[in-house]
Each structure stands twice: as C-alpha cells, then as structure tokens.
Symmetry: C2
Subunit: 175 residues, 2 copies
C-alpha cells in the first residue's frame, strides 16, 4: 500500500486539504479526502504536590471553553519534546525538567494525518507565560481523582487530555 499521488485542494495556514490516491490492499486505486496536518505535542503537567495542571481555553471548533492539557503544533522538523517544553512555558509558565514519553496517537485517522505526541511533564520550574493574541487560557489545578471524575462525567471531553490522564492513572496506580 502506498500513496500514488495527491492533489492539494487547499493550502492553509495550519493544515492542507488534499485529494490523495492510494493503492489499496486489493491493489486497486482509491481516492480519499485527507487533512494533512504537521502534528502536535501535548503534556500533562504534574505539580510537586502531585496535583495536575489543566488549562481551560476557548476553542472556536467547539464554540465553548474546553479543559485540555497544554499542547502545540509541531514546526517542520521540530522534536516533539522541544515543542511541548516550549508550549508548557508559553501557555502555563513552567519549564519541565523531566518529560516521560507516552508515544503518539492519531487523533482522527479516518481522514487526518495528525499525530499527537504525548508526555507526562514533572519537576516543573516556574517561569513566565507568553500567550499569543488569540489564546485565552486559564490554569485549572485538580487532583487525579477529580480529573478522572471530570472524564466520567463528560466535563473533560478533549481526546488527548483524556488519554494523558487515563494513562497517567493506569501507569501510576499499577492497574
């Protein structure tokens, strides 16, 4: 299986939309609308007292404020750990001295190439935030138990945030 060719339908600021033609497992050709995205990185910050630092921000796609972990888009060729360390500093004002990798996930593999690299960030040193003009971010500190309750009640409904919290819970409670 391989991509045979592609036609860029729209070249955007943060993503491209392409019509891609792939050779399928039965050797036939098939066409797909694919959102080409550079990928991102996100980290769950663990504070010295064990509580977790979430953020709440306005997201146009949801037309709502959403609880998330700090995250950012990868620049071309950028290392995911470098990206997430930068975003943690910009969005919540912490430099992580330790990043534990949780690998990556495809956010919506049916139509989008985006991979999100996930980390647990700890040994945090406080610095300064540096928000972009269209970022409106409030920190929100919770215990792990509270975060798990916010998942089961649907208050935390962001996929990468659920994954990071659930994997942190499972890794640290030796389920």
């Amino acid at each position: 299986m391989s991509k045979l060719r592609e036609e860029i339908i729209y070249h955007g600021r943060i993503l491209d939309l392409a019509r891609e033609t792939h050779q399928m497992p039965n050797k036939k050709e098939s066409g797909f609308e694919i959102v080409q995205h550079p990928g991102g990185a996100a980290a769950l910050p663990v504070l010295p007292d064990g509580r977790l630092l979430l953020i709440r921000q306005f997201r146009p796609a949801a037309q709502d404020y959403i609880y998330e972990i700090p995250a950012g888009r990868l620049e071309p060729g950028e290392d995911a750990a470098m990206c997430v360390a930068r975003e943690l500093e910009e969005e919540v004002g912490y430099q992580p001295q330790h990043l534990e990798s949780l690998g990556y996930v495809y956010s919506s593999v049916g139509f989008c190439t985006e991979k999100i690299y996930l980390f647990i960030a700890s040994d945090l040193q406080q610095t300064q935030t540096a928000l972009e003009p269209d970022e409106f971010i409030e920190p929100h500190i919770v215990t792990l138990d509270k975060a798990l309750e916010m998942i089961s009640t649907g208050v935390i409904d962001d996929a990468k945030t659920q994954i990071a919290l659930l994997r942190y819970a499972i890794n640290h409670r030796k389920v």
Copy 2:
C-alpha cells in the same frame, strides 16, 4: 463567544473546510480554519468470554494498518447508538444487545468540530459483516491486559481506541 460568520472553502464528501470568524473572549474578531465534520461513533466490543474485539484496517491517512475499535461517521441527525450498532454489524458482524455510553470526545478540537461518541458494546449476537468496497478489515481478539500492553508499547496508536480501552480498564477494575 459565538461564531459570527463562515465561508466554506471546500465542500467535501466527508468533511467541509471553512474559514470561520469568531468573537473571542476579549470581544475582538478572529479568523480560524476549521474542519467541519459530522462526527462519529465507536464502540469497544466485549465478547462473552471477556476478551475484546479490535479491528485492523488499512488507513490512507497513516499509510499503514491501524488497530482500532469499530467506528463510523454519523449521518445527519443520526443517533450515535444507532450508528455504532450499524457499524458493529457491518464491520465485525455483531449486533450489540447492550451499549454503555462513555460520552463523547473532541478528536482534535484545535481545528476540527468532530465529536466521537464512545460506547462499550456487550451481549453480542453474531450476524453478517457487510464491508464497503474500500474497507479492508481484519478482526483481532485480545485480552484487556494484552490491549493495555499494546497501548503502552505504541502498537495501538489510535486515539479513540486508546480512550475506550483505558476507560473500560478503569471502570471495570475499580481504579
């Protein structure tokens, strides 16, 4: 905050790409490229012996075979439970007699409206699969322990699949 207006850049078969203008928390207007998606539904099928039914399918966006739970796009106005019951039958040949809702997640809320409704499917009755011509799906049955190992080793790298498995593990082991 509200969407003030939108311009559809591309009207696709499975998604639209729009330039949306939103009023931000500071009352200023800001423009965003948003992928408008009808949303989807996915379910983790639990077999009578407690093992879990994953599928492995070729995904052009990943240019690879990906382990997933059965899932499908919502038709306009379609109930998520109806959608997922249909997809379970089409993709793996089972009708669920019981669906436990896990709510929904935004797959990539930074740029995409897609919500994926998640379920645990049990009391499965075997029927017939009905795959579409460009679907190449192999069932893959695993224990929960094996599935969690596949998450931590990165073999399962699909976001919705990680969430359904992790939430099943946490709910059923009373973490």
